[in-house]
Every structure is written in C-alpha cells, then in structure tokens.
Homo-oligomer: 434 residues x 2
Amino acid sequence: MTQTSITRSWVTSANGHADFPLQNLPLGVFSIDGGAPRSGVAIGDHIFDLEAALDAGLFEGTAKAAAEVTRGGQLNAFFQAGAPARKALRERLLQLLAEGSTLHGKIEAQGAKLLPLAANCLMHLPAKISDYTDFYVGIEHAQNVGKLFRPDNPLLPNYKYVPIGYHGRASTIRPSGTDVRRPKGQTLPAGQTEPVFGPCARLDYELELGIWIGQGNEMGDSIAIGDAADHIAGFCLLNDWSARDIQAWEYQPLGPFLSKSFITSISPWVVTAEALEPFRRAQPARPQGDPQPLPYLLDPRDQAAGAFNIELEVLLLTEAMREQNLPAHRLTLSNTRHMYWTVAQMVAHHSVNGCQLQAGDLFGSGTLSGPESGQFGSLLEITEGGKKPIELASGEVRKFLEDGDEIILRARCSRDGFASIGFGECRGKVLPAR
Amino acid sequence: MTQTSITRSWVTSANGHADFPLQNLPLGVFSIDGGAPRSGVAIGDHIFDLEAALDAGLFEGTAKAAAEVTRGGQLNAFFQAGAPARKALRERLLQLLAEGSTLHGKIEAQGAKLLPLAANCLMHLPAKISDYTDFYVGIEHAQNVGKLFRPDNPLLPNYKYVPIGYHGRASTIRPSGTDVRRPKGQTLPAGQTEPVFGPCARLDYELELGIWIGQGNEMGDSIAIGDAADHIAGFCLLNDWSARDIQAWEYQPLGPFLSKSFITSISPWVVTAEALEPFRRAQPARPQGDPQPLPYLLDPRDQAAGAFNIELEVLLLTEAMREQNLPAHRLTLSNTRHMYWTVAQMVAHHSVNGCQLQAGDLFGSGTLSGPESGQFGSLLEITEGGKKPIELASGEVRKFLEDGDEIILRARCSRDGFASIGFGECRGKVLPAR
C-alpha cells in the first residue's frame, strides 16, 4: 500500500485538507480541558487520539511498539526509535484511516478517538527539547543582511564552507499560539555612545524550517553524512523572534543572545520524513565559482534528494486589521530551496566534532528568504532595517512589529500527482512590554 | 550555631582538609559499583550518603524535606527549593558531623553512611542541565584575547555595559574525570583561503567559575538584581575546552559553536552560597572613566558583597611528566576578583528580556585570567596564540595541548579566622582524535 494508492480518508474533512490530508499524518502532543498531555495524529480537522487507539487494541506488532513509545506526553522516545518505528506506525494509520477501512466502524464504536482540532484541544511542545541549535543556511537572508552591513562583501569567507550555526535557548521554545511578550533590554540609540534600557523598538520575525532530531549519537562519535537522514525525526515551522536593536548592540563578539532568547515559536505538528518524501528534490547546483562541500559534508544521495520543495508563507494581522475584518497581509512567500546546506549536512556538521545530539533536539534552519522582494523572511530585510516602511490595507505602516500584531507562518508542499500537505500554523501575537 | 563556632568534625580527615572541611559541605551525586546515582555530601575524604541518612531517620522538619528532594540522582528539585531548604539541610549536617555530636555513634551504628571518596564512588553531574550559558565576564581575558586581534582597541564598546554571554551546548557537559576526545573540524591554514578538515591542532583549556541556577522564573518575567542572589544554588569549576583553530574559522558572525561543543568539564561538587559566605567581598570599584552599570544591573548590596575571593589554579600533567613522576606544572594562578560583573548581574541580565531560567541551568563565568604572566587562564593567552611556547620540567614544550595531557582545575577560599575550603578538582585528559 503506497502513499499514492491511498488518496481519501473516511474522515471527510481530511480529503483536500490544506494541511492534514491522509498523506500527512503528523504527530503531536495535545491535552483537553487541562488533562494530561498525550500524543495524537492530525487528520483533517481532527486529532486521532493515539493513546486511546492503543488502549482500544488498534495496533499490533511493530506499529504497536511504535505507538507505545508515544505515550507520556513527549515524543522523545518515539523520535529515538527512528525510521522503522515511524514507518510502521504510518502504515497502520493509513490502514485505519483510509476510505473503506474495515476498521472505520470499530474506531467509531470505541468513541472518543477523533477529537475536533479546534475545540478544546490545546497543543503542546511535541518533545522535551534538550538543546536547540539555530543555523544560518538561508543564503539569500545571509546576503540580504550582510549587504546592510557590508555592501561590497555581504557573505563572510566561511559561509560557503561551514554550515554556520549557533546554540539557541531551549527553555523559551513555545508552541504556536503562545503570546510574545515584547522584551526589554539595552540598545544603543543611533549616533550615541552610551546605551539606554527599555522595550525593544525593532521587534521582528524570522521565517525558518524547524528540524526534529531523532536518534542521537554518543559524545565523541560523529554522524556520517550518509547516515544523517536517519537521525532526523521530522519537521516543523519556526519563528525565531528577534529584537534587532538589542541584537545590534549585544552580538559582538559572541553572537545573538537576549535578542533571541525571549521566545521562539514552533508549529506543534511533527511532519515526518515519510510525508515529505514526494517533495524531496536535488540540492540545487552551486553557482559557478562556489567551492564544493568538504568530503564530510558531501554524499551523492544527499545531493540527489536531500533538499525539499516546501513553500513558506508569512502573514501579518494587526489589531486594526482584525477590527476591520481585513484579511491578513502576506509579508513573505518563500521556499526551502533557498537553503545553501541540506538538513543532512547540518546534522553531519553539528556532530563532526563529537558533539552529542539527542532525540528531541531541535534545529532551526535560519531565515529562509528568497532573493526578491516579496520573498524576504524578516522585516529587517523587507524594510531595509526600517528605512522603507510597508503600507497595510488598514492604512497603517510598519517598520517593525507593534503591540497587537500577530505573525502567522504557514508551509505547503505540492506536486503534480500527489496530495498537497501543509504544516499547520505557527502563530504568535505581540504583547506590550511589562 | 554559627559557622565559625564549629571548627572540627568527628570525621577526622575533614579537619584541615584542603577542600572539604566541615565548613564546606558541598552536595553531589554519586554511584557505587554501577548502582543508581544518589545524593551525598563531601566531608574530608568521605561522602556522607544523604539518602541512607534519610532512610535512617537522621533528618526531620525542614531539613528532612530538603534532604528528601535530593533523592533520585539529580539535585534540580533541591536547587528549586532555594535558600531555606539549603540552609536547613546545612544546619542539620553541621549538627550531625560536628566533633562531639551525640549523633556520631548513631550514624556509625547505622553503617554505610560514610563512604570513602576515592574508592568505588563515581561522581555524576549533580543535576539535569536544561540550558547552559557561557559568559565573558573575565575582563583581563577579554583584554588579553582582544589584544591579539585588535592591539589598540582590545575591548569592544559594549563590554563595560553588557555582561556578554552566549548559549553553550548542554548535552556535552561532563563531570571531572571524563576524557576529552580531540575534536575534528574545519580550519583555515595560515595564509590560505580554503579550509582543510582534520584533528584540532590548537586545543586549549579555559579556567572558569561555574554557577548553578536555583529557583527559576517564568517566561516573560525578569529576576531583579536585588533578588538575583536568591536564584543561585551553588558553584563549581568549569573547563571550557576550546579548539582555537576551529574557533577562528567558524565564529563569525554568530559566535563559537563546534570549537566548544565537543565537551565542557565541571567539578562535581556543588559548593553552596552558605559555604562561600565568609569569602564574599565587595565588587572592585570600576576604574576611573568606566561607566556605571545601568540601573537594572546595580544593587547596593550586590556591589558591597556580591563578589568572591576564590583563588583559582590550573595544573598540567603530561604523559612524560607522569612517567617521570614529575609534579604537575602550574599554568595559571588567578582569582574570581577578575570578574567585571557579579553573578547576580549575570542572572539579572540573562532574565531581563523575559528569558526563562530553570533550576539546574548552568552558567560559566568566562575565562578568569589575571592581568599578569602566570595568571592567564588559557594557553591562547600564555603562549600568545602559540608564538611563545612554554617549557616543562620534563623537557617538553607546549604551544597547545597534546594527546595525553591532563588539565586539572582547583579552587581555594582562605580568610583569616575561617577554615579554608576548596572546590575539589575538575580534571580531564586529552585522547587522540578518532
């Protein structure tokens, strides 16, 4: 039973669903009415309650073992179980949820297995995140930002050799829907030599792909590039909220710190490698003159199919737009093809020094801007650091985010002959500083 | 019963012990012969088994509640319980272990409460570390390193306003005694424009104070400078092993990454704020011309007593020195007085943007060098980046660390009229690259 052979589900809202048709089956952790968080699978407008399904005896064999390790409100053990567990669970879910499934009646008879997503379900982080690493593999973003500081030499010499990344703050990663409190901090007013303290005045978003690490490695070992894909559990959307004024003052010489650590938002559903399989693509050829990756970053299979075709979108909804019932304003339409390094290259690079990765670690891709207007993945790029404000249908203008503004990230994968899938939303609304 | 009034313990090895006299009583997590890790207190050459003592009914009231949350092989809950729990436990331990304690016989009668430190006891990390932050508050180090790159302008403009820090890798923090596998990575050979891949050739140590976070804060809240000391659970030694050649090539623009994340070593005993109380000192006055800290970093009590007088030492023992039975070579003799910012200032700064701190988070101070030869806290400074090798009694020379070299950090607090205390060792031996 292949993915293409099953197209419809008896869960009717799944058929043609923008994000969660039968072909997607992303995993997440949810709770209802303050109950204990537990694992589920998004299908159409519903959550298929994995733990209830387990209790009802709907799984056996490898699929049962895989479902068992999703218990407990954290998917770390499931991530650690790797691709065989993921695939077995997926196959069984396809059987259970396909149109014409003989199990349809059985599932419905058990009751309470399909929960309306929108109702009382609160989504949580899908895993305990031990370490969070933010990469910088969006080359157009690196160039756009570099141009603001170094017009003639936007990319640093290491960029095309090193998948640049840095450690981020794990404790403030939150699921979509969590409000974003405007941070306070030190900033250096233009033309002055002494900093002032106060609320961030240049609050920004960054559009990123999130990567969930599956099986880890022991400290001192490395994950070879050819094995790296097996260490990835899934994907999400990530908004790397950024305080540009705090960042500009603090980041030399050790990198961004408080300008990022106040919150990072992610979409709560883990889209698996299996669901994304039809949307793999070759890593784009490097432009003439660019160096080849060093051997530890080079694998023919990864070059042939290690990249993804995922359309990425950012929307802005202001308080005034909500009041006037205006549609959200699209800030960004971009694509994962702007990644200069593949996710396998990130994994291989991160562990090449013996750094231990663990199931449930999260990577951010870095901002995935395109080269053209309309494709920029941050307001820093869109407004050129605040110099060119954007106008909204509400009559408002924006250089950076204001209190009440909501940012919504979306992602969509499409290909002829395949059902489109999406990631679900990653939303966050800005609250005034305390 | 004050600290000064009790000077001796019936545990005779504690009296005059370099690290663990009765006045110290640091907490740690240990195991014996592969058993489950559990909590204990270092006293002289022994570990006082806290869980066994609890089971024997030696605690009651607040002290009992405090000891109870040390169960389970991780001290996070004890850290979270804060100063009242720590103080109650300390008072009771002083009673139990003081010379003339009527409980001496009772403890011995129960048996197995005092375990020889050196024998079968394996020390573990004292807590689950969710996030690790490395600061850069050693101003002499910042100046020494800055001079190598910018002789006329060693300190960046933000240094005297911002307690500079960056996120580190939590997954590779290990207790003293863990071997250090030489990392591999990309480096740019001198005079070339293309990097090469191979084992680090400029492996270094960094002498740091480690700070354990106690009670945390909710995301969006900040810890005021006046409250910050209450959020610190204790202290340790920290070796921020550094691959200088990897660091030089990778660190722009987002800071150190793989050059640090292969391992960070810490001493396993948590020295409490109570044990360090006699060794507090005023934060040294800022030199003429230096700015005052911004208000959120300024507290009169912290300025009056927020710094520490802790002597810090680094020793090197090479393979040849071990073979020739030569004593370890002292590389560094420094002091925590070279911290430009207090630990309370670090806590207040880290959380001022609403970043959530959690019990068991670990801070590193940054390298604590003094201004003079013999006080430098890294080989980068001692050998001026490899230009001035050091000579050892074994006839060897060192620019950076070679395979088989062992680095030993020690710390000692002394003051007239008070028993000296130490931190125990933080050791690590370099193994060849895989």
